[in-house]
Amino acid sequence: MDRRHFLRGALAALPAIVLPAGAYADETRDAFLANLPAHQRLAALKNRESDLLGGAAVIEGRWPAGLKGTFYRNGPARFELGDERYHHWFDGDGMVHAWQMEHGRVRHQAHFVRTKKFVEESAAGQFLYPAFGTGFSRRPVGNNDTVNTANTNAVPHAGKLYALWEGGSATELNPASLATEGIKTWRDDLAAMPFSAHPRISPDGVLWNFGVAPGANKLLLWRIDADGSLGKFGMVNVPQLPMVHDFVLTAKYMVFLVPPFDLRNSPDQSYLGSHVWNGQRPMRAVVVDRADFSLRRIIEMPAGMVFHSGNGWDEGNTIRLDASMAADDSSLRGLGSIMRGDAGKLQNADTLLITLDLNQGTARSEKLMSVTEFPRVSPVDMGLRNRQLFVTTGDKSPEFGMTGIASIDMETGRHDIYNYGQDWVVEEHIPVPKQGGKGVWLLGVAYDVKKSQTALSVFDGAHLAQGPVARARLPYAAPLCFHGNFLAA
């Protein structure tokens, strides 16, 4: 029996007035704890209170000698404070992880990003501000960076490291210590302008990004040059523009798949609550010329929900791109239910190859693989035609989290699959070019449910089905992450 349940039992007979504030447990937290025994995979979403320092991994197999550097990852890790638990996975405060690989050894450390929100709420001992899916409003919000959790991606660029969220500024971290250096303002007049968590870095080292402030109907466009300075900023008007999570960079264009949400004033002031699915409206592919940030065309497609795309390329006036597409937004809501330990509402996404004809204004799509997420391509393929697309895979059960990985051959349609199995929660896996330039390693983290441990595995990108070449296993469970990137030493 944990302390709080004991408290509740012992105090139940006393008059309510003697109960100290906060002695009653939170409903979401209670439900989560009650459901955990039946849904052990959700143990990956336990609250985390402190940084993880200096974890030396045990290596199984032989770590590739040429694979040296740091794999940065980011994900929400603080879900509870002052006995309250957030209502959505996306709400948690960001924790940035570094997996450092050197001399065949792997070490792990992870630090909370000391955002303004994290520092203020830590001092207060309770959540103060509205989050993505939970509407706390104990202190007024100044602007979007007041509620910036920096919890979605970790991107090294031009010698800097950024913890990214999608609704506000980038947060700069020290790449060696992971210490938080503060909000990044690219130019004074662009303070607090949203800088999404899914930038793309073209092979010339230029970082391309976008931002959306739902309600403003403006798509913000960023080019950060290879030296880390602001190259160009632009804004394009797009009517009825809701949250957009990711985009595709081709050699000529930036392509945004805009799901059909209507925006409403939310009673709880949460971001999610203001988004109402409208399947009667089309999904829109918004195509922007990357050279001058002008709007090239908006192409309508059947309604669908997309979080992630791996890559896209141009073929004359045609764009081809992949996307992980679900029928509607039920998974987005389901990723709230899991915080209560309810795993039964998750819906699968499929990987599609979408073809946009810019002259005709038409779109068509074909399925490449079912039950997939987290598409990634090798950084050398970014914006160019990619032969391989790497994804995580699952089975059709509604249980939380993915269970395998695959590469999809974009020309033959062949799948090369490795199944971790039901005892693993598989996170995003990313291709890293091998030293010498031929082929890729596929690098990814997974949570071992039975052992309650986190492990980093490396596969030969051409032979996933053969299983990992090596695995670096931590003696503890690290919080799940969303996205990350590798910085070669």
Partner: protein, 141 residues
């Protein structure tokens, strides 16, 4: 997206006198949560809902200091008022906002009132000032 402050009013503020006639109530405004001593703290007092965020009844300013500052607004007839405050860190006379209209300098309202994706209403920020005067506190965000 609504804008938070009518910048033109503060641009005209310059160095308004913060002390006035002693015939009416005195409102003391403590502004907390300053993270720097840069620039000035600017206060606007509104006496009518229809003028809120448009036409202040009185304005005041004081040099910023770390942590908090205090201003005295004298000569207010007893009654209902709403206040808006900001720290003009770069001394350009207005609350700076980014191209989406989001404020990027610290600001606040009486009652620490909060709006939903915009400024609060006059009623949300309303304070009653009696003849004996009043002390209020506003936290910058």
């Amino acid at each position: 997206m609504k804008h938070y402050f009518p910048s033109i009013i503060f641009a005209a503020l310059a160095m308004a006198s913060v002390t006035g006639m002693a015939q009416a109530a005195e409102l003391t405004v403590e502004v907390t949560g300053l993270k720097s001593a840069k620039g000035k703290v600017m206060v606007a007092v509104y006496d009518k809902s229809e003028n809120f965020m448009k036409q202040p009844y009185k304005v005041a300013a004081v040099d910023a200091q770390a942590d908090k500052v205090k201003l005295m607004i004298a000569g207010l007839p007893a009654g209902d008022y709403a206040l808006s405050v900001f720290q003009d860190e770069n001394s350009n006379g207005k609350l700076d906002s980014n191209p989406l209209g989001m404020p990027v300098e610290p600001y606040g309202f009486s009652n620490d009132a909060a709006g939903n994706y915009g400024p609060p209403s006059f009623a949300q920020a309303l304070v009653q000032v009696p003849d004996a005067g009043k002390l209020i506190s506003i936290k910058l965000r």
